[in-house]
Point group: D2
Chain length 434, copies 4
Amino acid sequence: MGYSEEKMYEEKVFKDPVHRYIHIKDRVIWDLIGTKEFQRLRRIRQLGTTFLVFHGAEHSRLNHSLGVYEIVRRIVDDVFDGRPEWDKEERLLSLCAALLHDLGHGPFSHSFEKVFDLDHEQFTQQIILGDTEIHEVLAKVDPGFPKKVADVIAKTYRNKLVVSLISSQIDADRMDYLQRDAYFTGVSYGHFDMERILRVMRPKEDQVVIKHSGMHAVEDYIMSRYQMYWQVYFHPVTRSAEVILTKILHRAKHLSEKSYTFKLPPIHFYSLFEGKISLDDYLKLDESVMLYYFQLWQEESDPILSDLCTRFVNRKLFKYVEFHPSNEQMSKLLELNKLFHKAGIDPEYYLVVDSSSDLPYDFYRPGEEEERLPIHLMKNNGEIRELSRESEIVDSISGKRRTDHKLYFPADILENDTGRRKIKKQIRQLLDLD
Amino acid sequence: MGYSEEKMYEEKVFKDPVHRYIHIKDRVIWDLIGTKEFQRLRRIRQLGTTFLVFHGAEHSRLNHSLGVYEIVRRIVDDVFDGRPEWDKEERLLSLCAALLHDLGHGPFSHSFEKVFDLDHEQFTQQIILGDTEIHEVLAKVDPGFPKKVADVIAKTYRNKLVVSLISSQIDADRMDYLQRDAYFTGVSYGHFDMERILRVMRPKEDQVVIKHSGMHAVEDYIMSRYQMYWQVYFHPVTRSAEVILTKILHRAKHLSEKSYTFKLPPIHFYSLFEGKISLDDYLKLDESVMLYYFQLWQEESDPILSDLCTRFVNRKLFKYVEFHPSNEQMSKLLELNKLFHKAGIDPEYYLVVDSSSDLPYDFYRPGEEEERLPIHLMKNNGEIRELSRESEIVDSISGKRRTDHKLYFPADILENDTGRRKIKKQIRQLLDLD
Amino acid sequence: MGYSEEKMYEEKVFKDPVHRYIHIKDRVIWDLIGTKEFQRLRRIRQLGTTFLVFHGAEHSRLNHSLGVYEIVRRIVDDVFDGRPEWDKEERLLSLCAALLHDLGHGPFSHSFEKVFDLDHEQFTQQIILGDTEIHEVLAKVDPGFPKKVADVIAKTYRNKLVVSLISSQIDADRMDYLQRDAYFTGVSYGHFDMERILRVMRPKEDQVVIKHSGMHAVEDYIMSRYQMYWQVYFHPVTRSAEVILTKILHRAKHLSEKSYTFKLPPIHFYSLFEGKISLDDYLKLDESVMLYYFQLWQEESDPILSDLCTRFVNRKLFKYVEFHPSNEQMSKLLELNKLFHKAGIDPEYYLVVDSSSDLPYDFYRPGEEEERLPIHLMKNNGEIRELSRESEIVDSISGKRRTDHKLYFPADILENDTGRRKIKKQIRQLLDLD
Amino acid sequence: MGYSEEKMYEEKVFKDPVHRYIHIKDRVIWDLIGTKEFQRLRRIRQLGTTFLVFHGAEHSRLNHSLGVYEIVRRIVDDVFDGRPEWDKEERLLSLCAALLHDLGHGPFSHSFEKVFDLDHEQFTQQIILGDTEIHEVLAKVDPGFPKKVADVIAKTYRNKLVVSLISSQIDADRMDYLQRDAYFTGVSYGHFDMERILRVMRPKEDQVVIKHSGMHAVEDYIMSRYQMYWQVYFHPVTRSAEVILTKILHRAKHLSEKSYTFKLPPIHFYSLFEGKISLDDYLKLDESVMLYYFQLWQEESDPILSDLCTRFVNRKLFKYVEFHPSNEQMSKLLELNKLFHKAGIDPEYYLVVDSSSDLPYDFYRPGEEEERLPIHLMKNNGEIRELSRESEIVDSISGKRRTDHKLYFPADILENDTGRRKIKKQIRQLLDLD
């Protein structure tokens, strides 16, 4: 029997708060979990800075990765197994892709990628295809296997049914994170009847479809997703922490470019600042390392870096006001910019517009970039219909992008009455603070 | 109106997965939460290394501290308020002590304190009484207030009723951690009807008592606690991680004492290794910093430090066998010790006996050290009875200490067939591995 | 101290699966619960025939009535108390109206009221104002008190704020039944964050409003309600049971009008059949009594009554097909009608169109009958806005009535091959059964 | 393919609040559920009179029967399937026995059986073996099949492994009712990790054993059971309702024996009163019918029957005091008996001692009657050990019978100050009421 079919002597289980148990029967999966690249995901939080607002949200990406694996395992083992449309040969591939789909995430991904112009998906590819423990395990299955796994994650694999398990508008990825993030934050949104959805999933030629009788469970899932976006993921205070974090990284990069001398050399960041980070260096960066530096940098002599780090580490966040990008508001922003300069507060770092935007569900729009597959329902007679044509609720929100803009700033400094009172008063008035 | 009575303009709430919401009405509590010493608790996990076994257990001590505060708040505001035995003047003191009771915990406390001979309770005292943001807030209430808070936590405060809220066999501390740890690990133990227990708590002269009608809820709590100890806290694999962690710290200290030259100077550990750590240095040590060093040390030239750190970071833990400290087993251990030396594996670091021991409940035994108060029930006629005299279930386990010993070792090295096969085979046979 | 302010010596609590505990402090509430008219609600199921589809849905209206009371108690005691817009004198009135709002419900209300042209709201009024134990308790508070309670339930009470607690689009009635029915059926819909909604409710002059910050929780509630309607309340199989029940009552009434002789005289139904039921007779009718007769009637000589009762008692329900009231379908229905007659199956009882229709949310439309109040949000500046103007999700479904029609018939009889094969075959073809 | 192997065209599912879904794949099971004898279980509550104390406990025996079926289905399909110790031929038999094990229960079984000297197990046998729809379905499998099912339920079937699935100290019956009764009452006891227990169950020659690693989950189950007994099943107020119910049945039987003329002839009870009830008559008796009569009897001229029925229907229960059957207390009881006679209150019906007794767990005691099998653990080496020899907690409660006695009486009548004041005062003093 080959490695790809090797089963554990005794099934392993991990206790999981969301799915109750994660079941591991395949030796390959067990070995992947044991690699250092996978274990590294313990040191990266699933929700970045959200723990500063929802104190329970301290769960790691390893947590989520196991969850996605388990959902795909249940689909292929309990629902697809034995159906003619499902090719059993794709089973292990599907499980591996599910487990590894987030492997390349960096620390506080969102800000990190933006500032350093990186893409976690490229690192996922590199980890799977490069000289890593992950690669070693996958290549034992078959020399071509790592490439297949990478292709599924990159959505370029020829069997789109396998791709859709982890990349559609109702894939295992989304189903896990909605439930998991709801569980750890403790919010009452994020619940839907996944067991029912799994039971009505059916394999089709190029995608997973949902039996029509499961439509209401899918509607509930779409609504959960909508609520989670606006209640948790785009929570204005989380975004404040995100703004500060982004500005810390900007400032550190800027100082490095200006040849500023750090008290302790930030060795982990050198190649990053220079824009030529290697896979090895990338893998050493995790949230422990970042937090280590943020703590050190509180004592840097650059007042901006030091202040921003102190804010992040001790949760002294920026306040915010609503900001609608109208002409009137844009002039106000310019005016504020000037006043901040006058008050000696660098608006580059202390006056920040942040925008969030989400599309709760969308049917397929040819030519539009990067949208995930729409959801298709299968009627009893075999006919396939796109969800928003069947569900009035979904139709009513389909394609409606919602956007929200906020202006962030350090209210504490503005209240500070040690000097420049007059300018600060003007600022406060413009911001409607008084 | 004084600072001690100042209320928030609008009550603040944090979403909490265990208690649903944490309610904050007092300005003092809000200000304490905002201090950097309290925020530091975000960087220390409630359950140390347990997350390596129960992947959900990534929650921080800040999490738990808010929970203990909330339980005490519910007791004093919803149950005690208005009862003649309860002195309303003690309200704020009780809340502060609850919130701050774990303030002095270091990273991975258990191992950390053992290796460096430290006591987190002393650091809690120092943080409350020293030159800290915490002290500043507390002293604003009243110059003598910090001392009072410290006394409650040290159990020396004159009003034992206040002490018992956070230090008895059924205090807010235990009630929070059992439920919280159960929630984040996902185990099905750890549940009991806290709402009922709170409703039947009554203030008495020197302790909180429980109305007799709540006895069954208390029994359930005792059983939950028993299960959590043996299912989660003393889980043999968690203890393996703990053993490795302890040995890392031992090794680093040992190397430092031997004037070993670290590749990167472990500046955060200097004063610790020298046994004269200051409060400031202590507060800089958190689990991010520890993990940062453990990652660095993987590349140290000392093979033991490097190996142990690699094990910890990448979760390559020790295996274990049962070990009963009989004469026979002690000779076997000595024999193994010799064989390990022969095989070139230092038994000091690689052959470790670990013991866990718990007393599920105990009545009061005068003269015995450090036991928390027993639980007292109050009958309808006012009579007070110790729990184990009323409950057959509790009586049957009362005072019965249960102890468990295990022997930990790196099975992978022993299986390794690159050399010293014969000795390793002997070792494996003694350990019943083959 | 008067009766209206009399408190229980010790607060009474009932364990409730939905709200954990129902708390009773007022002697008046305790006494109302003890009346025989209130206890009668134990013998009427909250969801009528739904238990034939969701086997857990066996909970009674007493269950729900206690829940509505508890929600209103939490609103007035924990949220409204102390606010200037809230008149404390209305507290007991609100609690009594909440507890008693469903008092007049008959057995299997929906069908029962339709067939006998009754209105449970009129019976609620009669029970409160008539010669009953309920009246006796309420009149002890004050001779004018029963009338006030009746007025609140009839929505004619002058203080509309009190009325809106139990009659609006987000009142205590709906919040209880959605959660309770979800709990007992076991469906995963029906959950929303009631604790949050209660916390942001504010008393205004003529209604309860919701703080704007609670908008998302309200959206979630609206979606829960939508799902519960289509997943549970309008479940097509429940409607099948309802159809049969209605036809049983029709048939029994018809037989009685035709002077049919029942084997055992249906004494409980005499006055009902004659259209002049007294309050006393009405109160004796509950679901035990109905089920008693349905069982007896299985052995009646009238084949239709006997067959329908056998179907209901033993859950041999009608099947259904979709039915859209187009011209084409209407002709098909006429055709079926004829064929049923030919086949000797009375279409009056065995070929039934049933329609369900729901409006998930609506803003106020002056002049339209009987709609509950819309939901109003209060912004931080005090401005009041109708929900659908603030929430895109709610706006997108607001005012959109959804209707569903189905055609019910006894598929088993049509499959029966003992005679009239040809006609039955025609019927089956028209119904697309083969 | 024979009937025994016929599968549903599409798996049927029922939504179940406890097990989420009940899955039905076998045509035989589907047909059994559709019989009138099984549907009759909808009209018998699982917990008899408990709903008068825990208002949520209105669930029927049909509910529980489906649950036991589902647990056995999971054991045989998900855990036992494929193991050499498990004979697949026993699958359908196990499922049928699980589904039907409670089929013979009468209304309010406990009191009913006691008063009329009946045994529901005998009726279960009769229903399975007699001329019933159940028998018809079972006999279609094989003429000998009904007898086999009856034997499993009677514990006389030769394959004790099958018997132990529904009759041991940790069988599917107990696992379902503990969880179900906890769910519907809403108490926080009754939870244990059934999923884990199922996963570690193993078939052995003559019983189901539990892998040693599941010991803690089993301990938790034993403790849950203990708590449910004393918190729910033996709740003193439930027992009060039970006492009244028993006395109603006694009185009605007594009156019938004395040729009392009922206003409306109690036709359903004739054969019962005469001690020669047929299966057909028995099956017509359900809780709707009982409640119908209890309501009628409120208006009987016999004051005792009328009073007791009024108490039961309207929940005007007896009060209680503790009663320990010592010599002293027995003399007090005799004294009370005399005083009740003097006061004109028949002590036969109004002064009742009720005793409850439970054995939380017991190892096997040869020769003792009717105990269920003890629980056996299987170590990794295959050795089988009885639970109490491995678990200290279980050992400490094993074999310890706990008994509780209470004395019930109508406190309202004794407080009544219309006459016989002096005697009633004496009674109240003896009962310590004043």
